[in-house]
Amino acid sequence: MAHSPLEQFEINPIAPINIGGVDATFTNSSLMMVIVVALVTLFLTGGMRKSAMVPGRWQTMVELAYEFVAGMVKENVGNEGKPYFPFIFTLFMFILGANLLGMIPYSFTVTSHIIVTFALAAVVFLGVTFIGFIKHGLGFLKLFVPGGAPLWLLPLIVPIEVLSYLTRPISLSVRLFANMLAGHLMMKVFAGFIVSLGSIGIAGYFGAVLPFAFNIFMTGLEILVAFLQAYVFAILTCIYLNDAMHPSH
């Protein structure tokens, strides 16, 4: 095998930056993030530039994205969730943009690195915990004591609830990272099958049709997954936020 399927995830420095001993090198990953933010901003501001009463095609797409996330926040958190809508919308659009741009051949998938997704999940986790304590004070701890549970079960239930709360950032980040990693890896592995089958001659060409067709199918599936994972990340953020708003369930 000439190329490893893991090669696509390599991070290459573009412009070395060193601030007081901290390595802040501008890499292809950072470049991709800048492109994602620029494109999302262009998409949203460009679509709403005219903001016509009867929206055109572009404006309809922007409004669709807005209403999708707004409906999600309203459904899961309720009206108290409105102040946090910009954050969740930003999160959704960034992850969606990063996932979709990663589908372009020879580009780089930002969300296929656990450090990026873990940073996003850590922001959500810390933010939600702070919001819970600010809104309810120590009453937020009621989240760990399910209502209606018999008293003698509490020593067992409370540690489980605390543990499941603490693993939230890990499961949130690993879910996104592993989905993107596995999808891209699988496509590269099947692309490798096409190359190695094609190199054995005319019989190989006919054999190579199968992995090629599968790769086309995988591309479609990966675009679905790119959208689905952005949706799952955003909706879980909403659910966690709802827990912080209404801790006694």
């Binding site: 499961s171 690993v174 879910r175 592993a178 689905l228 994972q229 949706y231």
Partner: protein
Amino acid sequence: MELEAAKAIGAGIATIALAGVGIGLGNIFGSFLNGALRNPSAAPKVFGNLLLGFALTEAVALFALVIAFIILFVL
């Protein structure tokens, strides 16, 4: 046993998690079809939940993949 061979066996064993995920995914889509065929008008309402359940279950399979990778490349 050689370390490389042990790693390969360990990574293979880690994929046993797929059995549970297979059962889970089959259950999700089977239950959805069951309900959707009984009451087709209610199907679009739970489609979002279906996708959410699919993504959450699929993530478990990917956790197994991550464990396999950790065994193969990190340990």
